[in-house]
Amino acid sequence: MELDSLYQEVILDHYRKPLHKGLSAAKDIQVHHNNPSCGDEVTLNLIMDGQVVKDISWDGVGCSISMASASVMSDLLIGKEYKSAMVISDAFVELMQSKGKSSGDEQLLEDGVAFAGVSKFPARIKCALLGWMAFKDASTQVIA
């Protein structure tokens, strides 16, 4: 079923047991992003250690795609250099824009490739990007 390409088991797992959910007490910066057309919200705390992403924690309400994606994003980016976090982030955005034509670089995106199917559902792309956009916003602000 077409639907299964959207709701990969990996995604549903992350949705049911999201990683790094729950905001940390400490933070360098906090950002709040939302998706006005559906009401999904993510708040994200970021701690940087120089150029390294030391910690990401987040909270939010939203659909399985948006919550699972925030979970995957945080787990993937914690510990990465800012520069490689950006590379990963760009690769994820590109995957989302691939209209089902790319299956993603598993080396780079790990669990993130599970979202490849989302790119066939235009209305869900912004769900998958919500957490990533929050991270991009937060990290750019800290680095700048």
Binding site: E2, G39, D40, G62, C63, F121
Partner: protein, 415 residues
């Protein structure tokens, strides 16, 4: 089913579509926009094919015919609302209609105008289109925005109407039927209280006018707005109706050609309503299309349509009550409610509910339904909403109920 409207379904070309791997389209999103019968599509394109030209402007045959068609549409809409012809103003949408009134009533040259110290009344269940224009009017003028709360079962809380509507009240802007709950608002008490203090009542009829008979004289409101596209009509056309005595006394909000009485470089005076409120070359083909939609509705009869939708709503509410973990948001009985049903499924986000239903060809709306403050009041991130029009049938409801069960299976929630 007492009224059988099944023969009309074939008039709607889009309903013949197969979606997502061959499923028939089960369109349950008429609250967002309705589908259009062939006669409406044809009326709009025939306008272009045979008489297209700028109304009220040319000295030639096409302009004559276009003007006649356009003004005929106005007459038809007026009859539909029980209004005078000159009280019907064509806009692009209900949203524009409501914004126009807000601008007009905030213009200090209007003889009914809002100023600092005045109050504007709305409700907690308004669509953004009947909330934000009033927030902005309040901001511009220094007036205060106040609102009716809702009760936990999705009704308007009128218990404090005496405080809410008071001597300072200048405008009461209220929905006729909630686009989230389906609740129909009984207006009598509100209109009486408003008129007693000299306030005008603005009715958002977006979810009512397309579904049951409306008579502006009986409702006794002062303004009314609704959208063509929810009324089987084209996109890009809306209605603003206003009492002629009031239209006379207020300034227009859009300025340009065809709405003037005289113009110099420094200033201008206005034509009479409805012209005064229709600046520019109007959305003529859409007005004519909407008129064809009204004809279509009249043939079936608004009473029959309302009854038909009642049946479907009852069937859906009954069915939903039998699925565990499904919560109807809004009135659970048929008292004063129309064919809009919001619900949540425990453990599944509305967006995901909608996505799975879509896989089976079932088109519903998910999210906050442009009623964000209402969602916050209810502590909800959103709902899934099914909404009917005359082309829906009992099979659609059965398929939706079956679909919801599949949603639960898919996400492994409940039994």
């Amino acid at each position: 089913m007492s009224v059988d409207l099944s023969k009309y379904k074939k008039d709607f070309p889009v309903l013949a579509r197969k979606v997502r791997g061959g499923n028939r389209l089960i369109y349950l999103d008429s609250g967002a926009t309705s589908q259009k019968p062939e006669s409406v599509i044809k009326a709009e394109s025939d306008f272009y094919r045979t008489i297209n030209s700028a109304v009220h402007r040319g000295a030639h045959l096409l302009a004559e015919e276009a003007s006649e068609a356009y003004e005929g549409a106005r007459e038809n809409l007026a009859k539909f609302l029980g209004a005078k012809t000159d009280e019907v103003i064509f806009t692009k949408s209900a949203t524009e209609s409501l914004n126009m009134i807000a601008y007009s009533l905030g213009n200090p040259d209007s003889r009914f105008n809002v100023k600092s110290g005045d109050e504007i009344v709305v409700s907690q269940m308004e669509h953004h289109a009947n909330l934000i224009p009033w927030q902005q009017l309040a901001k511009r003028t220094g007036a205060k925005l106040v609102w009716f709360s809702i009760t936990d079962d999705g009704r308007l809380d009128l218990s404090n109407i005496d405080q809410i509507i008071n001597k300072r009240t200048k405008i009461v802007a209220i929905t006729h039927q909630s686009n989230v709950f389906g609740t129909i608002i009984l207006l009598q008490e509100i209109v009486k209280a408003a008129h007693k203090v000299g306030a005008v009542v603005v009715l958002d009829a977006c979810q009512s006018a397309p579904h049951f008979a409306i008579d502006v004289k009986k409702l006794d409101v002062d303004f009314l707005a609704f959208s063509g596209h929810k009324t089987l009509g084209p996109t890009g056309i809306g209605i603003l109706w206003g009492k002629s005595e009031i239209l006379e006394k207020i300034e227009p909000a859009l300025f340009g050609g065809s709405m003037v009485d005289s113009v110099t470089m420094e200033s201008a005076t206005w034509a009479k309503a409805p012209r005064k409120f229709e600046a520019g070359v109007p959305n003529m083909a859409q007005a004519v299309g909407l008129s064809a939609a009204i004809d279509y509705l009249n043939v079936i009869g608004m009473k029959n349509i309302a009854e038909h939708e009642q049946e479907l709503t009852r069937q859906l509410l009954d069915g939903l009550s039998e699925i565990s973990g499904v919560n109807v948001i809004g009135p659970k009985d048929m008292k004063d409610r129309g064919g809009v049903v919001s619900f949540t499924v425990d453990g599944v986000h509305p967006h995901d509910v909608g996505q799975v239903l879509d896989q089976y060809g079932i088109a519903v709306r998910t999210g906050h339904h442009c009623a964000w403050p209402l969602m916050k009041r209810l502590n909800l991130v959103g709902t899934t909403r099914a909404s009917f029009h005359l082309y829906n049938d009992s099979e659609d409801v059965n398929d939706l109920l079956a679909g919801i069960k599949k949603v639960k299976e898919y996400f492994k929630v409940g039994k």
